[in-house]
Symmetry: C2
Subunit: 198 residues, 2 copies
């Protein structure tokens, strides 16, 4: 027995978290022992509260505390555009821009046959049920990866016949990037889709 | 509001932990939302239990669930040798060797005047109160750093006049290390304290 039981128990629980190895679990545990008891209680409560209080928005499938998420229940959002993202956190990234005014749809994953993630595992059924007469554009903002591209392609083939405009985020050189550090796939995209300077 | 309130609250609490930035707090939070509710409860309980149930061993100052830690209450440990370490986790490292059979003393820090850590902030008073007639050797196993060395030197000067043998862990090339990757301080130590081959 190297550590007292409650300490060993805490380290074991922390080690189960993603990206937390034995060493960082130990470091976190010793930090927690030095924290004020009230702060530890706050952290513990926020864990159980988050798990207990949160569900999914019945429209866009965003993680939400209520039946409808604040975005879907906001009358100022344009209801004719849906931006499809892989995960809830991607909404946060787009909302930070303070630019897009339409609605969202969270797939909760991307197509990945090797991991057993097919169309049935994603929230695609829920997306289809939203595509009534007033949706003009679907912006597919899945990641620019093999899985994200496969998901985008799948959605485009599924929805184009329904007469809905399906677009994809532009790709190319990231702002501030350096040419000789860019991977060739990115550089190729940037070259192929070069834009006229005005 | 980018995330639902309980989710934002959880991310904020996780971000306070050492080595957890905004991105990893987000990643941990989303992982926790996908965990079975029972596992989340287990993690939350282990946090509060650890903070509530653990104190310090009244002899060696090791983190302990009881008044005396298992090491101090083990009659098979040699009571004439004390190994002084900076932190509880250093005991775990030494115990893993299954070699040392004496007792320990945890200082809970090392001398660091810049951070306001003087002898009064460490558990040195508690160490002195243990040094009755039957202590033969004090092995100072603080880290081989400026702070660890300063702490070792301070203890040696304090205890030598009391007729106690004070030793320090050997230093030199780490096993498996490569000469041309070793820093010069380590290499110098290894050269100065070179040992006769038998």
């Amino acid at each position: 027995m190297l550590f007292a039981r409650p300490l060993a128990q805490l380290i074991a629980q922390l080690e189960k978290l993603p990206g937390v190895g034995p060493k960082s679990a130990q470091r976190l545990a010793f930090h927690i022992l030095r924290m004020p008891a009230d702060d530890v209680r706050l952290l513990a409560d926020s864990l159980t509260d988050a798990r207990r209080l949160l569900g999914f928005c019945s429209i866009c499938q965003n993680i939400s505390e209520s039946e409808l998420c604040p975005l879907c229940s906001d009358p100022r959002r344009q209801p004719d555009t849906i931006c499809v993202v892989s995960e809830t956190k991607d909404i946060a990234a787009l909302e930070r821009l303070n630019q897009y005014r339409g609605l969202y749809h969270v797939l909760h994953g991307e197509l990945n046959p090797l991991q057993g993630l097919g169309p049935e595992q994603l929230r695609i059924k829920e997306l289809l049920s939203r595509l009534g007469g007033n949706i003009e554009e679907l912006i597919v903002a899945t990641n620019p990866t093999t899985e994200g591209d496969a998901t985008a392609l799948y959605l485009a083939r599924l929805l184009k016949p329904m007469g809905i405009r399906v677009t994809r985020l532009a790709r190319g050189m990231p702002v501030g990037g350096e040419l000789d550090y860019a991977d060739s796939a990115t550089l190729l995209d940037a070259l192929e889709h070069r834009r006229e300077m005005t």
